[in-house]
Amino acid sequence: MMIKCKNISRTYQLGGDEFHVLKNINFEIEKGEFVAIIGPSGSGKSTLMNILGALDRPTKGTYLLDGKNVFDMNDEDMAQIRSQKIGFVFQSFNLLPRSTVLRNVMVPLIYNNKISKSTREEKAKKALRAVGLDEDRWTHLSNQLSGGQMQRVAIARALVNDPGIILADEPTGNLDSKTGAIVLETFKQLNEKDGHTLILITHDKNVAEHAHRIIEIKDGEIISDKQHKHL
């Protein structure tokens, strides 16, 4: 079992009041799954993504990632988990401006001490090939690319460390429907051809349709969890 969430709650203290953003969340995700977590804004899906991505700790409950309990970890261990097990894709791409595509893709490798410097470029090129970005774009500066190209660079960056899980937070939110479709197709390829585990967080039902399993969340609780398509 790749991910195991057991009775996860997340509470924020704000001016003396307590906000229960996540309440008693339970689910499991296996290796190779393509899961969409769907819910309206304020439903707690971003908080859930932060917990799944080892950026945040649950207030209560256990989150087991590859058998390790993230709740018990210190900040340095969490950084290492992010470096080796998780690849993030953000709504606003978050590429380093004024840096080339290759350089952007190589950033996570700097922080992964298991990868030697000489193999970095090779790994970055492999990841860029996997997302299907034309080779003549690789030396372009990241801010010279179109939105769809930027998001594919971001996906390549998430892939470069061979993480167990790719977490995508509204990856098509800043794209028009046509380029959004290309990006979603890229995700599908990565899941079906290369066997990557994907977790897609979105508010858009049409986007969620692409996943094989949809977990619906509302007011911090799971209201449905069903297989969408047969693998």
Binding site: N50, L55, D56, D75, E76, A79, Q80, P108, Y111
Partner: protein
């Protein structure tokens, strides 16, 4: 990892060229002024030590000291008593090895007159060895001879300043008569100017034979001091101790603390004077150091701005697996790079400034390796000190908050 850090650092510094250049400029000014001020201070203390060294090399001077009698708490000033006699000098010459020359002197201030002109100056009674020890050279005429000493001749050699006062600047007084303390002396020479003013100036005085001085000027057998030239600098302390023992024995004094004379070591004087020079150098450097601190605050200001501007990037890097050490070392490396570059340029500018000061004002300046190393060290330290807080602030950012930052 180090080469990554260097690459990232240069990359982000060049991304903000004008800001980086201005910040570096602050450090350049600070380091350059420290370098320039230290070289001025060092130049001044070198000037002082050079002057002391010009008095003669490996010199020991025995001076009469006040002797405190049992039960008498009144103590006269050093040099005021008349406890040294010529025989002491003879005994040192005969009894101490490792010395090149011994030159006893008698000195007194007297009114000197020449045909209506008159001046008050120091009269030095000397022996022939004095010229060698003090490396005195003659501008005009001849030095005092041994024959003149034994015959107590009334001859005088003038310092150049005294000559100017009595006969007019640049005049040749050889063969002229002058009156010292009512006695008539004939001038036989003038010494070459050695420079220096005030105490220790060898330009404003009159030299006469020591025997003549004792008989006609001071009227007693005591001498004012004994100059001893030691054969090598390593033997200074040893010879000083030997002379101490010899004179204590001659004066029948058991307790060395009650000695009626004191021995001044030129090396001690040099140490004292150069410590004065070092203090002055430190003072100048400290004043210049203030601008270095201001430069450091500039670094901190820039780094804080950078951290704020790059909050999102910090959040991103954290989400991609950077731990807090990766983040803080990145920002620390940037501030150290700024101060290091500023330090190097500052050394060059400070060095040029020191050369310019020498050219324009004539003040001697001395560049030393330690002042360069010190400046590089200080500027790097400033990078660490003033970069630490912004770097920690960057490292402590919560990745979730940082990613959300607009």
């Amino acid at each position: 990892m180090f080469s990554d850090l260097l690459e990232e650092t240069l990359f982000s510094l060049s991304a903000n060229k004008s800001r980086s250049v201005l910040t570096i400029l602050g450090i350049v000014i600070g380091i350059a002024s420290v370098i320039a001020m230290i070289s001025v201070g060092q130049g001044a203390s070198k000037g002082i030590t050079d002057r002391i060294e010009s008095l003669g090399t490996n010199l020991l001077v025995v001076m009469p000291g006040s002797q405190r009698q049992a039960g008498n708490i009144v103590r006269g000033g050093a040099g005021s008593s008349q406890t040294l006699i010529l025989a002491d000098a003879e005994a040192i010459k005969a009894g101490i090895t490792d010395i090149n020359a011994v030159a006893p002197t008698v000195s007194a201030r007297k009114q000197v007159t020449v045909k209506g002109q008159n001046t008050n100056t120091s009269i030095y009674g000397i022996e022939t060895s004095y010229f060698g020890i003090k490396s005195l050279e003659m501008e005009l005429g001849t030095p005092i001879t041994a024959q003149q000493l034994t015959s107590r001749s009334k001859v005088a050699i003038l310092g150049p300043t005294t000559r100017d006062d009595l006969f007019g600047a640049g005049a040749n007084p050889v063969g002229q008569k002058i009156r010292i303390a009512g006695q008539e002396f004939s001038v036989i020479g003038v010494t070459v100017a050695k420079g220096g003013t005030g105490m220790g100036s060898s330009d404003d005085l009159i030299y006469i034979p020591l025997s003549t001085a004792q008989q006609y000027v001071t009227g007693n057998q005591s001498i004012s001091n004994i100059n001893i030239q030691v054969s090598s600098a390593d033997l200074m302390t040893f010879v000083q101790e030997q002379i101490q023992i010899l004179l204590l024995e001659r004066h029948r004094i058991v307790d060395a603390t009650k000695a009626d004379f004191s021995i001044m070591n030129q090396a001690d004087m040099l140490t004292t004077m150069s410590s004065v020079g070092d203090t002055m150098t430190m003072l100048l450097a400290a004043i210049a150091g203030i601008s270095l601190v201001v430069g450091g605050i500039g670094i901190m200001n820039m780094m804080l701005t950078t951290v704020t501007e790059r909050t999102r990037e910090i959040g991103l890097r954290k989400s991609l697996g950077a731990n807090s050490n990766d983040i803080s070392s990145q920002f620390l490396a940037e501030s150290i790079a700024l101060t290091f570059i500023g330090g190097i340029i500052g050394i060059v500018v400070g060095w040029l400034a020191a050369i310019a000061i020498t050219k324009l004002s004539g003040t001697t300046t001395v560049m030393t390796t330690w002042s360069i190393l010190l400046s590089v060290g200080i500027s790097t330290l400033i990078g660490v000190v003033f970069g630490y807080y912004p770097a920690r602030r960057a490292a402590k950012l919560d990745p979730i908050e940082a990613l959300r930052y607009q």
